[in-house]
């Protein structure tokens, strides 16, 4: 299904919708992390409980059924943990929540199971009522699911328990509302804001992050091609994914040996989605033999007052509405990808390990 903002005929309306989606996405990233911090820290929120585990998008096994991947995995100790699902909209899946209520395997205990766990559904405040009604009135779930709404206000993520009860009485004991300062969130995430969670972002968001934080750096080693009016960057989807996972995924607090199994945010498919959008707007060319390799037609972007997200929203929207972009004209003049050169770039060791 195509994104609603792409179907708008007026660009300003399209941009407003795309911006709302992006803000909802970043708010959800923050809310998930904030909830994890709240569940696993002391009352000051400054210190995490020793031995706790926090991660996002952890695969959990089920008996005779496909594995599931909750957005939030917060294990307090060997006895108790919380699994959470976040949606920036009102699309709640009964089967998904139901599966989280099962006795899942994948906890960090000797038998990978845990005696007690709660399931949380996290929704933005505007959808909280409908989520609450749907979960309590329409769904038939094997256990009570806690619904928590979130909103960003006064430099903090405000979490409000809308319905349900935690197994542990420590959570939301007197007041259904808690605020997690964004400063605390940054501190717990290696002093940086996470940019992704286990949900698909809209492609212009990933495109702008790639342009700002990866392509602009890669471009420094390339010579400007005066005939094409740009630099050619050879990139590979797996390497780009790994780079964004290293720098912009939410922090995982899990045993060292498990780390390799955890970190898959952002997903390669999202990076591919972004690269394919670059292709459509004329800012990339795909290798014919290796579909993960692309050449990026790089220039410093000056439009939209330097706001690369807005720039890419506009380009995607223009292409969707049949307009030929300057990038597409350039794209038509580029010879096919030189795979040898592309491989050479990988050997220069740009990608931090």
């Amino acid at each position: 299904m195509e994104a609603p903002w792409l179907n708008e005929k007026d660009f300003d309306k399209a941009y407003t919708l795309a911006k709302q989606e992006q803000i909802k996405y970043t708010d959800t990233v923050n809310a998930l992390f904030a909830l994890g911090i709240y569940l696993l820290s002391d009352t000051t929120l400054e210190n995490l409980i020793p031995g706790c585990h926090l991660t996002f998008g952890k695969k959990m096994s089920r008996k005779n059924a496909p594995a599931v991947t909750p957005d939030l995995f917060a294990q307090r100790d060997n006895q108790y943990g919380v699994l959470g699902e976040a949606k920036p909209n009102a699309n709640i899946e009964e089967n998904q929540l139901s599966s989280y209520c099962e006795d899942l395997e994948g906890w960090f205990t000797h038998d990978k199971r845990i005696p007690f766990h709660d399931v949380v559904f996290l929704a933005p405040v505007e959808f909280a009522d409908s989520a609450k009604r749907t979960i309590t009135e329409k769904f038939n779930l094997p256990k009570e699911v806690v619904v928590i709404s979130y909103i960003t206000a006064d430099f903090q993520i405000v979490l409000r328990k809308e319905c349900g009860k935690f197994y542990l009485p420590d959570y939301f004991p007197k007041n259904p509302v808690v605020g997690v300062p964004l400063e605390i969130l940054k501190k717990h995430n290696y002093n940086n804001f996470p940019l992704f969670y286990d949900g698909d972002p809209i492609p212009p968001y990933t495109m702008s992050i790639l342009w700002d934080h990866v392509f602009t750096l890669l471009a420094q080693r390339e010579e400007h091609d005066p005939h094409l009016g740009c630099k050619i960057l050879n990139v590979e989807a797996n390497e780009l994914t790994k780079h964004l996972q290293t720098y912009f995924a939410p922090r995982s607090i899990v045993p060292q040996k498990e780390k390799q199994h955890i970190r898959d945010i952002p997903k390669k498919t999202w990076i591919k989605d972004a690269l394919d959008e670059f292709l459509k707007i004329g800012r990339a060319i795909q290798d014919k033999s290796d579909k993960d390799r692309y050449q990026i037609l790089y220039t410093a972007i000056r439009g939209e007052k330097g706001d690369n997200f807005k720039f890419f929203v506009r380009k995607c929207w223009e292409v969707r509405n049949g307009k030929v972009t300057k990038g597409q004209i350039k794209q038509a003049r580029i010879p096919k990808v030189d795979k040898k050169a592309a491989e050479g770039q990988g050997q220069q060791g740009f990608w931090p390990q």
Binding site: K186, N191, N192, F193, H213, Q220, A300, D307, N308
Partner: protein, 369 residues
Amino acid sequence: MKAMPLADVDISKDLTELARQFDKLLKSHKRNLAFQVVMCPIDFSDLLHKKAEKSEYLSVVREESETSLFRLKKERWIRYIGKQIEFQEDFLVKRTSKGGVYLAIAFANSEIWSNLILWYLERLKPQIAFPYYNQNEFREIITNLKANNGVEVFVASRTYRPKESQRKLHKTYKARREWEEEGISLDYVFEGAIEEGERITKINFKVVENSETIGDYSMATQKDFICKKGCSHFVNTALPKAITLASKKFRLLTGRSRETTPDHRAKPIEIRYKIPVFPDVSANVDFIDKLRLLPNFSCTVLHGNPYIHLSLADYSDGSSYQVLVLSKDKITIVPQIISEGSLSKLITYIFEKFREGEVIGEDIGSPVA
């Protein structure tokens, strides 16, 4: 052939001895000595040697262990004159006792200094950076010229940025005020600026001892020190302070690229203010609008209200940042993969276009203004 007085200086000497030689030059030529403090993470002389190998207009004249003499020869179109002019001048690069801090010194008139030497040094950014001195530091450096009892500093003129309400958005409006020949006291000038909400960007002043003028200087917040008279006095009093402050700033900037930190942990820099500078949404908008005009940077707004989350990329060297406002009295710069020069450029820009604050590196703990 144009005279190149620096070529006759014995550059193997230390800075104090060099200053004595400079004083002689000041007496015999109608030129000024210009100093620029430079912060550079690699050896600045080596950097220039490499540039000279590839450059048609930069060459190495002489080299000693601590000092190198370079020559710049370049034709430039000068807009305000409306013609092409060929400039040629020598400049010294001297390593200081503080790691990462160097001095570029030229003996030139102001036209050559600004249109050739400073122009060239500016082009080396962000591989190098100039330290930005805030108002307190600015005052402190100049106050150091009053080394002995009986030495007084008199300000002849100042250039300043008027307070925010008197400025038009996006315009760097500068005003100049001059006093009578005898000048006015340094404290009066700075106290007056604080009262008026102004920020002094350049100051021309004289140092007087027993009614005799022993020094005649000008100094800018981010750029150069110009010495018209009394080089030794300047080198022995104010310059060490300027170098020490630059060294602190340089240490604050280094080691922050996430490429090299353990677990790729970010090492943010905070700009703290004594008053709430983000009291409402309009302040957020003002700050974002200003950052969007940062030359050669992208500025993507991920969140603008109630908190600010910006994604910035420096097109000149590929450095990138998250800039956050998570409280009313603080800006947090979260460097990603960055260079020191780019980070310095960003902080300086915020100071110049938004507001000066106290810069703090989280891992250092103690404030470095």
